[in-house]
Symmetry: C2
Subunit: 358 residues, 2 copies
């Protein structure tokens, strides 16, 4: 398409330098198109197939069932890519732009999802294989979603220019990605950054991953709900309880966030507890990784300063050597729900994150 | 010294390719000389000045006092280097071989020890400055001791050839070093790898670092003593109690190790508890870092399989996605007490570990 004498100047021709990124989330599959200057030039989304979030049913039928769910999810990705591909910016050459796909969970280097607490129905699915047959010819990379988000925030977002970055997404669960020395830390098998499953209290509540007291049980949307219900039963959340219809068991994280934004002291207290638990994990990770900047993303961070302020305060008390060391900035993510998809597009353009051996 | 016609052939001349490494430990300052082929060709040691391990006394006198302690420690390092320098292998050219010095604690990129729970008396000391004036002219690097040990084990020791390595030293406290993608993970300020101060139980016992329930409170020599005293008070350690003169408060880790090596069931039970706590932290770190190999060093590991076997068993149950992921080998360190010094020598030859910005 770039023959001498072509009517389209190379720099301006449709599709030049375009990359697509798709992020498979618990509720939606979100795709973006980035141009050669990393500007967002397109977006598409579909709902995540409901089967994907469910567990895989009784033992025995697991493999077959998960293969079907993986195929449903891959169909959804293909649908998003087709929508992006119909944009006027996309290549019409027959060979599609590079496509990166971010998947929540532990992916091996061949693109097989080997473990995924938050996309249980698709565990075992060979996403690389499923997607290769569904997408136009072109380079495809399949990567962990949070690793993609960390790349995006460090290249284009809230940690632009920082070489040592910890990204933590506080949503239904906790996702994480680490940039060390300017590179995404992928580990020996590509499983690095599974920070939500640090045990921070071995006698704590059970976690779907099989352990007890994982950080994700405390410092996530689910953790906020649990802290809130405890406070409601203890009689410390009158207004929140009213929002939940008077039943402590019906109290949800969003009730607390709403009441805290209205200045309700009991709700602010629960947000403070949540911030303390967020800080416990961040301080642990800071001791191990020594980042210069921590980026907090995910739905919980939309609460803003009512969560960030107590988190920063507790972190400054908990981080090792706090009085002597340079402080570590804790900032909200800049790319919002698109971080994973943007990072997947960047990874696709680069030919993948960096996988050594496994 | 390498003029044409010299009587000494270049490859055989004294000092060619030699590097010195010195490790400042809690009880001894240990130095090694490595030849160009990384073979150990010399060793020297002196006792660590006692003042170094003590806390720095009342506030106010801190800076002056620590300056003196730092000077004492630097004198000890200089004494070790002088002994190494008097070896026949060392250079006689006036310019000394490269010297690397490993220091326990958080060193900033200028070689100042900003925080050190296990060398409290020397906190604040400018080791780079103190050593520059005491050592022969030549290249000097000052690095964290456990980062040096991780380098040594990954280049020459139990993780030779592995690109993603976690080194954990279980001694009085816990030290750590991480190799990711073939490079030592130093972090933004050089403080990465402070793994002993991950909080694994926020309501646990207080730690000298100021927090509660650090991993080091459980999975170290001190932690073993505490687990053992709890078991003794609970009446589960009759033989160990006899070794300690009948007073539960006098039970020490070494009593338990000795009794466990003799096959005493109560003592083996305590070693199993210790292994479980070791595994909790290793599983946390594996989730974050995804190493292909974990190397355990430090005095506790000299107990051998009575600790390693329960550690491996608990780790395989605790690590995320255990059934699906490739297993992570847990192996004892190969370089023993010399790992830090050997790694410091390697770092000196390379011009330092890799420091980006801070």
């Amino acid at each position: 398409m770039n023959e001498p004498g072509s009517r389209t100047a190379p720099a301006a021709r449709a599709g030049a330098g375009i990359a697509f990124g798709v992020d498979i989330g618990g509720t939606k599959v979100l795709g973006v198109a980035l141009d050669a200057g990393d500007r967002l030039v397109g977006e598409a989304r579909v709902a995540t197939p409901q089967s994907a979030a469910e567990s895989s049913g009784p033992p025995g039928g697991r493999e077959h069932h998960n293969g079907e769910v993986g195929a449903d999810v891959a169909d959804a990705v293909a649908q998003v890519v087709a929508e992006l591909g119909s944009l006027p910016v996309a290549s019409g050459s027959g060979v599609g732009p590079p496509v990166g796909v971010g998947v929540p969970g532990m992916l091996d280097r061949h693109g097989v999802l080997i473990f995924s607490p938050n996309l249980q129905g698709a565990a075992g699915a060979d996403f690389m294989g499923l997607l290769t047959t569904r997408l136009p010819e072109g380079s495809l990379v399949v990567e962990n979603d949070a690793n993609c988000a960390a790349l995006a925030e460090s290249v284009l977002g809230a940690a632009k220019g920082a070489d040592h970055v910890l990204l933590v997404t506080l949503g239904t669960g906790i996702g994480g990605g680490v940039v060390a020395g300017g590179r995404v830390l992928v580990g020996a098998c590509g499983f690095a950054g599974e920070i939500g499953h640090m045990v921070v209290d071995p006698s704590g509540p059970p976690c779907p991953c099989g352990r007890r007291g994982c950080w994700e049980r405390y410092a996530s949307g689910g953790g906020l709900g649990r802290l809130a219900r405890e406070a409601a039963y203890a009689g410390r959340l009158h207004e929140v309880l009213a929002l939940a219809g008077g039943d402590p068991e019906m109290v949800r994280g969003e009730h607390v966030t709403r009441a805290a934004l209205d200045g309700e002291p009991g709700a602010l207290g629960v947000m403070g507890e949540l911030g303390w638990w967020v800080a416990v994990g961040l301080a642990n990770l800071a001791a191990v990784l020594d980042p210069s900047r921590i980026v907090l993303g995910g739905g919980l961070v939309e609460a803003g300063e009512i969560l960030l302020e107590p988190t920063r305060k507790a972190f400054s008390e908990l981080v090792e050597g706090t009085a002597a060391r340079p402080s570590i900035e804790i900032v909200p993510a800049a790319l919002g729900e698109r971080a994973g998809a943007v990072g997947a597009a960047l990874a696709a353009r680069a030919g993948g994150l960096w996988y050594p051996v496994c």
